[in-house]
């Protein structure tokens, strides 16, 4: 097991290397000039040229890459063109909102979707099942930004129960922190709840036809324990796979949600950085995202071994 984890961690290195090269190249190949953006609308060509010189954008691409990557290898992601700060520091500041939002969303998704799926499977073919599935289709079909604005309209504007947007740091009070995250988390989670509820239903339904479910009933086990101890325990592997994917997709999803709710997280940072052609920041954020993807995959694979004793690496 230890050896397996080590091998997996080592195998992430080439992935990250490829991502680094691709991101770097793609940014340089896009037809736009960060220097011009920084300089503003009224700058002279000389001023722009001066900025280019200062940022090192006039060097050959290969040299730029070597400078950047050797910095990265030493833990130095460079200085943001736009914010005039170390990128590492910038990301550090923006990490908390994104992490908070992701964690709360995932909790919400798992706590709602899994029971929903089990209930639907247990009541297979009844109106309860059809209701859950209907909700699930709805959840798929509405785009995130529509859900976001509807929820804001209902809960923030009309009912005035929750703040419209903004973020409060957790150390300034858990209540305020949570209150401001509820709407974004609900928005973000809807599509995943729909998706995971469906997956859970399918997996559990399949397992409910297995012989060992009949065995459990023949022992006199109660239905709730049959569902949880025997059905869910066996349906867990595919469900976990989907949850893992969800976490990965969530990271992409925060870009939109943070824009809608103006949460000062990594998503918003990415959008701003892209608009400003802030190369060092974009590169660092994308490297960070891909590292997170790889890490989540590893965690999911390791978690399999705890859920199913037949899986051994």
């Amino acid at each position: 097991m230890g050896g397996y984890i080590l091998r997996r961690v080592l195998s992430t290195l080439p992935v990250l290397a490829i991502v680094a090269v691709l991101v770097f190249l793609m940014l340089r190949l896009t037809p736009s000039d960060p220097a011009a953006i920084i300089a503003g609308d009224y700058a002279s060509p000389e001023q722009i040229e001066g900025i280019r010189e200062r940022l090192g954008l006039n060097e050959p691409i290969l040299k730029q890459f070597i400078i950047w990557i050797s910095g990265v290898l030493q833990g130095d992601f460079g200085e943001s063109f736009f914010y005039k700060k170390q990128v590492a520091e910038l990301i550090g500041e923006r990490l908390e909102p994104t992490l908070s939002l992701s964690v709360i969303t995932i909790l919400l998704v798992v706590l709602v979707a899994v029971p929903l799926g089990i209930i639907a499977a247990h009541n297979h073919g009844t109106w309860i099942d059809r209701f859950v599935m209907g909700f699930s289709v709805l959840g798929f079909s509405i785009p995130v930004f529509v859900v976001g604005y509807i929820l804001i309209y209902v809960f923030a504007v009309t009912l005035d129960w929750l703040p419209v947007q903004g973020y409060q740091r957790i150390r300034e009070g858990v209540g305020g922190w949570l209150l401001r995250l509820i709407l974004p988390a609900m928005t973000l989670s809807l599509v995943f709840i729909a998706f995971i509820a469906r997956m859970t239903r399918t997996s559990v339904l399949e397992v409910l036809n297995e012989d060992y479910i009949r065995t459990a009933r023949a022992k006199g086990q109660t239905e709730i324990k049959v569902l949880i101890r025997h059905a869910l325990a066996n349906a867990a592997v595919p469900i976990l796979t989907i949850i893992g994917l969800t976490v990965a997709i969530l990271i992409g999803g925060v870009v939109v949600t943070e824009s809608v709710y103006t949460l000062p997280g990594l998503g918003l940072l990415t959008v701003d950085a892209v608009l400003a052609r802030d190369y060092p920041t974009i590169q660092a954020v994308i490297l960070l995202f891909s590292f997170a993807y790889v890490l989540i995959n590893l965690l999911v694979d390791v978690a399999y071994t705890f859920l199913d004793p037949r899986i051994r690496y």
């Binding site: 012989d211 060992y212 006199g220 325990a233």
Partner: protein
């Protein structure tokens, strides 16, 4: 003595006029209709019948495990020690399950929860029905594990099902079913999925446990060998009705009803008929055939290596049937797949005429593909459900250049030959029964004009009466086309009837090889002897052929 036992005490289970309705659109109105029988304490009653006869529905009705939406009890009662379980509340049923009635199932591979330790699964019964503390539960579990003769209970209690063999898993099931000493044990085909030697042990165990604990047993089976081995009384079912019931000897030796007579007669005898040696040309020869799975590599030096077949030698003549007999894991299917070149052998030669096809690349192999055709075990899964049987049959010949019209004509001819209507070519596999599908598979194989037909457990999934017909068909086409047949089976009775020669395999090695008559009359190898000893109902088979 039987009469004394059942007469003196109240039956543990008394089924009276039980009727269970099928959902609309089924082939008959009721799954079971108006059936009645009793099971006394310490009595083993075998419910025998072919698939669809309603045996399992009967068991589920007693346990209250019928799928509610589809199958409804519409009449009669099932009295368990006087209490009608068909009218019990779900709560009461749960109390009764595990305490007064226990059940074991056909597939020990799937009947245990794969992600739970086996000890926990036995203890679950105690946890549901008793207030015993955990330590006491564990003690009781260890006791019952010892009682069902599981090796090393102290270690095995914490094992997961996949770490156990099929026989051991079935012992776990029996332990869980019997830990609270229920009055009734329902065993639904409990040994069908097991190898003969394991089957013999499990049958012995069930018998031992029930007589020591005074358990009444409802034993569902389709296997008359098993019936003759274990039954006190027999209930014969056909299409949801009880056709005949009586003591074992009455039903097996002196059946009254035509259906029972037909069933008993259809059981292949263990005594092989006389067969003249086949003198035809050698169709295929295997020399030093081996197949090894797994490979040690630089990164994985401890990889498991399985020698699925080692140094297997045989030849099959035209018009001859060679049987390969063995238990699961013996390598018989591996040999069949190597011969058909579905997999590449690791070593050795497969000679067709003088060409060694063992290691030919796919391109050069193609002309030989049509020479060897296979009929597989499960006719339900070996036909593509989305294609008509006609499409399935003509596909091969067309691939080898036959025109559509010609292939179609041949398909019609073959359908007639295998005993089906040529007009059925437009139908889909699900519109046929298991036996009919196997006939279609045979027609499909014959369409290629093979010289060697491999039948891999081709009749194992079929009911005895259907099995007898398909065996006859196989024998007829062998004669008609002068086919060489490689017949893979675990069933000694079937092998005795159809094979000219037999090779017995164990752990990838052929341990004995001779004419069927020789091997059956005078087995040489210890393993062959053990196999014969384990065959259920040996006396039954002998009796039959003498009569």
């Amino acid at each position: 003595m039987q009469e004394v036992l059942t007469g003196a005490t109240e039956p543990v289970l008394s089924v009276r006029n039980l009727t269970v309705r099928l959902p609309g659109g089924a082939d008959r109105e009721n799954a079971i209709q108006d059936i009645s029988f009793d099971i006394g304490p310490r009595e083993i009653v075998c419910i025998v019948g072919e698939s669809g006869s309603g045996k399992s529905v009967t068991a589920q009705a007693v346990m209250g495990l019928l799928p509610k939406r589809d199958l409804v009890v519409t009449g009669g009662e099932t009295r368990l020690q006087g209490e009608d379980t068909t009218k019990a509340t779900i709560r009461r049923l749960r109390e009764l399950r595990g305490t007064r009635m226990g059940m074991i199932f056909q597939e020990p591979m799937t009947a245990l929860n794969p992600v739970q330790r086996v000890g926990q699964q036995i203890a679950e019964v105690l946890e549901i029905h008793t207030d015993l503390p955990a330590a006491e539960q564990r003690k009781r579990v260890l006791e019952i594990m010892r009682a069902v003769q599981l090796p090393d209970p102290d270690l095995m209690i914490d094992a997961y099902p996949h770490q156990l063999s099929g026989g051991q898993r079935q012992r776990i099931m029996i332990a869980a079913a019997l830990i609270l000493d229920p009055a009734l044990l329902i065993a639904d085909e409990p040994t069908t999925a097991l190898d003969v030697t394991t089957q013999a042990q499990i049958l012995r165990l069930i018998k031992e446990m029930q007589s020591r604990r005074n358990t009444g047993v409802m034993f569902i089976t389709h296997d008359f060998g098993v019936v003759s081995e274990i039954a006190d009384r027999v209930v014969v079912m056909q299409r949801g009705r009880v056709v005949e019931q009586g003591t074992r000897d009455e039903v097996l030796r002196r059946p009254r009803e035509a259906y029972t007579k037909m069933l008993v007669a259809a059981v292949p005898s263990l005594v092989p008929p006389k067969r003249a040696p086949v003198e035809g040309k050698v169709a295929l020869e295997a020399k030093h055939l081996s197949k090894v799975y797994g490979k040690r590599t630089f990164f994985n030096r401890k990889a498991r290596i399985v020698k699925a077949a080692q140094d297997v030698n045989f030849q099959i003549r035209k018009g001859e049937t060679l049987g390969i007999v063995g238990e699961s894991g013996s390598g018989k299917t591996t040999v069949a797949r190597c011969v058909a070149r579905l997999i590449e052998p690791s070593d050795g030669e497969i000679l067709i005429e003088t060409v060694n096809v063992a290691h030919l690349p796919e391109r050069d192999l193609r002309p030989y593909r049509r020479d060897i055709q296979i009929v597989f075990q499960d006719p339900y899964r070996s036909l593509n459900p989305r294609r008509t049987v006609g499409q399935s049959i003509v596909e091969g010949p067309i691939n080898f250049g036959m025109t559509y019209e010609k292939a179609q004509e041949k398909a019609r001819e073959l359908m007639g030959l295998v005993g089906l209507s040529p007009d059925a070519l437009d139908r889909y596999p699900h519109q046929f029964s298991g036996g009919q599908r196997q006939r279609i598979c045979i027609a499909r194989a014959l369409a290629m004009g093979p010289t060697l037909l491999i039948a891999d457990e081709a009749v194992s999934a079929l009911d005895v009466s259907v099995q007898a017909q398909v065996l006859e068909l196989l024998d007829n086409i062998r004669k008609q086309f002068d086919l060489a047949v490689l017949f893979i089976t675990h069933d000694l009775r079937v092998a005795a009837q159809i094979c000219d020669r037999i090779a017995v395999m164990k752990n990838g090695v052929v341990v004995e090889h001779g004419t069927t008559a020789e091997v059956f009359r005078n087995p040489q190898h210890e393993y062959t002897k053990a196999l014969f000893d384990a065959a259920p109902g040996r006396d039954f088979g002998v009796q039959q052929s003498v009569a």
